[in-house]
């Protein structure tokens, strides 16, 4: 026992000193030259199961070779309706208007009127997967998608359901999926954050920042919210009127004085790390806007994502594909530069501003489907033609699905059976699992969302059981204490 506490975590030798310097920096933003120093140090061979306090965001070896290097998670906040998009239910279509008893909220079984989808469905491609006419562009890409129709989660309410999809638990305070990946794998680009979130301009999701916080992990693992308009990162730009040269001078003055301070305090790597963080902040001022600058993209690419499509006039809330398309393109540019985890929220605020179609399902589809349809198809096409699709994992879904029964012309929440799809690195296209004949509850090959989390980790080369973080006496895992399994049927 004694020897354990007598030795600092890093043996003092000259190689380690440089290493610790970077360790303490902890940022997703360490200078490339510095990480090159470490490459010769055998540092990258370190295994991914790091103890909490010693972990950092430098690249770390996965548990095994994962097929994917980055994730783009498209979160359709509000809960998209499975039976109107991918989960075709002929029986529901036939029984439109009939009354049945269904669990509408936990433990509350009530009579409801079946609401058939107003959409028409067709099978597409080699895989013959169903897709509705709500997504005319994406339907052409069905052979790239592994569609799991049999997921379920634990909460009928947005607040806890959102948090569960993002952190694995229905209670607040745990790290989000992006934090776990940053913790487990680090970043591949030292000049950009490893975990980026982009929001819908209509507002954030319910529970706001709790969806991308690092919970009990250090702040270095929390998401950076990247704004596609204005200042992309909080306080990134110098105050108005200040030139880049002036900011450079500021950083130089600070670090010259910091060097003086450091001279009389030898051996404090934290002080060196903080000096480095000012250099990195300065670099970020050019690297972050560069990601957002689409000037270098050709017109064909921009069109692919619908970036220049006009704003539709059919509904005041509808935005058309331009905004989300821009975010998808930026997501590609981020993963191209080594960012590990990009989450884009489709939908914000409340009710029809997002996928939460209590008021009117058809209206909701007309607002939101065109916003994501072309951009997602464009993203898949673009990644494929660039040879990036094999190394990028696309995840699509919401915090739950919706009910087959009507709530006026709308649909209520339903965590008992809903659809996600995965595409890209390591994914086997095709349909997986089933809900019952009405699309209400997952019945065949049903999987809890923890299995989805385990699968995402697996595709990224991490074993959900071994990826753990010791906090307050417990080894915490993203997938929690109930055993989770990788969904083998989704894997290539």
């Amino acid at each position: 026992m004694k020897s354990e506490i007598d030795h600092p975590p890093v043996a003092p030798c000259c190689g380690a000193k440089r290493r610790q310097f970077l360790w303490e920096t902890g940022a997703g933003f360490t200078g490339l030259a510095l990480s090159a120093l470490l490459a010769g140090d055998g540092f990258f061979a370190r295994h991914a199961v790091a103890s909490g306090s010693a972990a950092n965001v430098l690249p770390r070896a996965p548990h095994f070779a994962g097929k994917a290097k980055s994730v783009i998670f498209v979160f359709c906040y509000g809960g998209p309706p499975q039976m109107d998009l991918f989960d075709y239910k002929p029986e529901l279509q036939q029984r439109d208007g009939q009354t049945i008893n269904l669990e509408i909220r936990r433990g509350s079984v009530k009579p409801g009127t079946l609401l058939a989808s107003r959409r028409s469905f067709k099978q597409y491609g080699q895989t013959g997967q169903w897709c509705s006419d709500a997504l005319p562009h994406l339907s052409q890409q069905m052979d790239k998608l592994a569609v799991i129709k049999s997921l379920y989660a634990d909460s009928f309410a947005h607040g806890s359901a959102m948090i569960q999809l993002n952190t694995g638990r229905i209670v607040q305070g745990h790290p989000s999926l992006g934090s776990w990946l940053a913790y487990g794998l680090g970043t591949q680009n030292q000049n950009l954050p490893s975990f980026v979130v982009m929001l819908d301009p209509r507002g954030g999701p319910i529970s706001g920042a709790a969806n991308w916080m690092s919970g009990y992990m250090p702040a270095r693992y929390q998401a950076t919210v990247l704004r596609t308009a204005g200042d992309p990162i909080l306080d990134l730009s110098p105050v108005s009127g200040m030139s880049r040269a002036h900011q450079r001078e500021q950083v130089d003055a600070i670090n010259t004085l910091n060097a003086e301070h450091l001279r009389s305090r030898p051996g404090f790597s934290e002080l060196q790390a903080r000096i480095a963080s000012y250099e990195l902040a300065f670099q970020l001022q050019s690297t972050a806007p560069e990601v957002l600058d689409l000037a270098g993209e050709d017109l064909k690419t921009l069109d692919l994502y619908g970036v220049n499509d006009p704003k539709p006039t059919n509904h005041q809330l509808a935005m058309g594909p331009a905004h989300f398309g821009r975010q998808c393109l930026i997501a590609r540019r981020l993963v191209e530069r080594g960012v590990r985890f990009v989450q884009i929220y489709s939908g914000g605020g409340h009710f029809q501003e997002n996928w939460d179609a209590h008021v009117n399902q058809e209206e909701n589809l007309k607002i939101h489907c065109p916003e994501i349809d072309k951009p997602l198809a464009g993203l898949l096409t673009d990644l494929e033609r660039r040879g990036m699709l094999d190394e990028t994992l696309i995840v699509w879904g919401g915090e739950f699905g919706r009910q087959p029964v009507a709530q006026g012309p709308g649909r209520d929440h339903n965590p008992k059976g809903f659809t996600y799809w995965l595409a890209g690195g390591g994914v086997k296209p095709g349909s997986y699992g089933e809900t019952d004949e009405l699309g209400h509850e997952a019945v065949r090959k049903a999987h809890h969302v923890r299995d989805l989390h385990a699968t995402i980790l697996h595709l990224m080369g991490l074993n959900h059981h071994d990826l753990k973080y010791l906090y307050n006496g417990l080894d915490h895992r993203l997938t929690g204490v109930v055993p989770a399994e990788v969904i083998g049927g989704l894997l290539a």
Partner: protein, 659 residues
């Protein structure tokens, strides 16, 4: 194995009660569960270094490894350390100068006593405690609604520390302030302890949510007061420590009579809002309101005219919303009836109840059974057991927390986990001596600060230029030097306000809302919802008064490793990331402080740029700049501006690290 365990489960109750009847089932193996024994002082060679018993333990360990203690800190370093440690603010240049000029040995004592007497002491140390009890002012989750009067609990903590309420009393007030024979307004407010955690107002499973709330009580109480992760035994016996699932449900039984949190309402017999007045006044008011409500309702029922009905309806609503003429506290309230029977939940599942479990304390820690009355007093029994010198954990845990904030690292480096999964103490005998001395001195935290700060160990320099020592003990586990420490988010903000001259020291109340940028508010589903903007002078108050909204933390705090507001935190992280630099360089708050500071410097130092730099260094760092620093600063000031220089100084390592 499986068979053996199930038999044990079946026989659990019988085995336990027989064992406890015979003799205490004390856990002898693990150090933290053994009774605190006051160790005798070790014999040491360098006796001249020993100022008080703390030093004997420290030097004994150093001598055993052939290390020498570091030289003493300079007086400037010392007074800055004392200020940041005790009140979280930098000393005024005059205070530094006076201390430096005073050669009397009593000068140091006067500094300590002076700081302990300042109300800012309670604010500084209150914030440490708020971390431990997962303090927040909103529920979290979808609506993240405000918890009315949660701030009274924060103010109670600050005041209790300022009054040096004995720690055992502090424990009793929070756990059972309503059940104490000498309950007071303050002790009622203290039970807000139970109410300031996160709460899902729309749980998926109501029955599970009820147990989640009880779990929050157990986990928080376990970690905060006992440094114990007994909360981990909800679904199965603890994996590392001698706590069974029965122990866990025995604690559930203790809290089971607490009425669950509900959206607080003023007029009703609320489970969460207590009137801070005599019961007679509160009852009379409630009766009056009830009578008037009944009258209005009757009138409305018989009124035919729809416009008049509407007017009556509005009156009714106003009356319902009308706050009472006396203050309210967010507090705990037991059910008026007998506590429900508690059953062990198999695998923690409320749908799968097992044997009934009686209220009790963890069997491995005590043989004592709580003395109970059927309807109440359960929490008081728990409080008495925790706030007792016989409890092996309580004094050790708080002494260690205090030590941690004076040395940057606890004697036990895991302040919330003294169990087997935690880390062992670096100086076990010192910990026990402190714990025992703390109890002898009447559980006085202020006395504990004095004791620690009077030691030579505390007064060592933090400079790590002793190469041999560094090579043997780079992490300073053996305490051969003091620890250079980055200050917390709140201290960075408060220190900036202090040097700029903008700091508003007014205390207490609901809390303040600093201006947040539109970009930050855009992360909310209803941008701006639940956030206000306080008047500018209010925005200059100390950070402990920043409104704690669980889904919208002030970015400066969040970026600098603010506490996790949903679970107890004994040890904040300290990370260094580029966005922090951006915030300090370009954020509006620091720009404003730089502007104000520049104005102050012109006022206090006149037009001489040399004098301005001198004064700036005195204010921020309590010293004159070196020649090199003076030269760099002057050049920057001349090429840019005084404000620009002020911003540079706010960004320096020396501004956020204390020697």
């Amino acid at each position: 194995m499986q068979f053996h365990r199930s038999i044990l489960l079946l026989l659990g109750l019988t085995l336990r009660s027989e064992a406890s009847a015979a003799e205490p089932v004390m856990e002898q193996g693990h150090w933290a569960y053994r009774p605190v024994a006051r160790p005798s002082l070790p014999r040491v060679r360098q006796r001249h270094w020993v100022t008080n018993p703390i030093d004997a333990f420290v030097i004994a360990r150093l001598e055993a490894s052939g290390l020498s203690p570091n030289r003493p800190a300079t007086k400037r370093e010392l007074i800055r350390r004392a200020y940041f440690d005790l009140i979280g603010l930098p000393p005024a240049p005059e205070a530094v100068a006076a201390f430096e000029a005073d050669p009397s040995p009593a000068a140091w004592t006067r500094v300590i006593d002076g700081l302990l007497a300042q109300p800012q002491y309670g604010e500084r140390w209150g914030r440490h405690w708020l971390d431990v009890v997962r303090y927040g002012q909103t529920n979290g989750y979808e609506r993240d609604a405000e918890k009315p009067f949660a701030w009274r609990y924060r103010d109670y903590v600050i005041q209790a520390l300022n009054l040096d309420v004995p720690y055992d009393r502090f424990v009793r007030e929070q756990l059972a302030g309503d059940e104490l024979p000498d309950a007071s307004m303050a002790s009622l407010v203290a039970t807000g302890y139970y109410r300031v955690g996160a709460w899902d107002d729309e749980p998926d499973d109501k029955r599970l949510a009820e147990y989640d709330e009880l779990d929050d009580f157990i986990s928080t109480t376990g970690q905060a007061f006992l440094g114990s992760t007994i909360g981990c035994a909800r679904c199965h016996d603890h994996k590392f420590d001698p706590f069974t699932q029965r122990d866990y449900y025995a604690l559930v039984a203790i809290f089971h009579n607490v009425r669950p949190y509900a959206v607080p309402s003023f007029a009703s017999d609320s489970p969460t809002l207590l009137p801070l007045t005599t019961p007679e006044v509160a009852t009379r008011w409630q009766q009056e309101v009830r009578t008037r409500l009944a009258a209005l309702e009757a009138e409305m029922g018989s009124e035919q005219d729809s416009r008049k009905r509407e007017a009556l309806r509005r009156q009714l609503e106003e009356l319902r919303a009308n706050p009472p003429p006396f203050p309210l506290a967010l507090a705990v309230r037991d059910r008026p009836t007998q506590a429900p029977a508690t059953r062990l939940l198999v695998r923690g599942n409320p749908a799968n109840p097992g044997d009934e479990v009686r209220p009790g304390f963890p069997a491995s820690l005590t043989s004592e059974a709580p003395k109970l009355v059927p309807t109440s007093g359960r929490r008081l029994a728990l409080a008495e057991w925790i706030a007792s010198e016989a409890n092996p954990l309580t004094a050790r845990v708080i002494v260690n927390r205090t030590w941690r904030h004076h040395f940057g690292r606890g004697i036990v480096p895991t302040p919330n986990d003294f169990g087997r999964a935690g880390r062992p103490p670096s100086h076990p005998e010192l910990l026990d001596w402190l714990a025992s001395e703390f109890v002898v001195q009447g559980w006085s935290l202020k006395q504990l600060h004095r004791l620690i700060m009077q030691s030579s160990a505390y007064q060592m320099s933090s400079i790590a230029d002793n190469v041999p020592a560094r090579s043997v003990d780079e992490g300073n586990v053996r305490l051969w030097r003091q620890q250079l420490r980055r200050v917390e988010a709140e201290v960075i903000r408060d220190a900036a306000l202090a040097v700029s001259g903008q700091l508003n020291l007014s205390m207490g109340g609901r809390g303040i809302f600093p201006k947040l940028s539109r970009e930050v508010l855009a992360g909310q589903s209803r941008p701006g919802n639940g956030w206000e903007e306080s008047p500018p002078t209010e925005q200059s108050r100390r950070s402990v008064y920043l409104f704690v909204k669980r889904t919208l933390l002030v970015p400066l705090l969040e970026s600098f490793d603010f506490t996790n507001t949903t679970t107890p935190v004994g040890e904040r992280a300290s990370t260094t990331v580029a966005p922090q630099a951006l915030m300090l360089l370009n954020g509006e708050f620091f720009q404003q402080q730089a502007t104000a500071w520049a104005t102050r410097l012109q006022r206090e130092a006149g037009e001489s740029t040399f004098a301005q730099v001198e004064r700036a260094y005195r204010l921020a760092f309590g010293r004159s700049p070196s020649d090199t620093e003076q030269r760099i600063a002057l050049r920057y000031l001349q090429e840019r501006s005084l404000k620009g220089l002020c911003l540079v100084l706010l960004n320096l390592n020396e501004f956020v690290y204390v020697d």
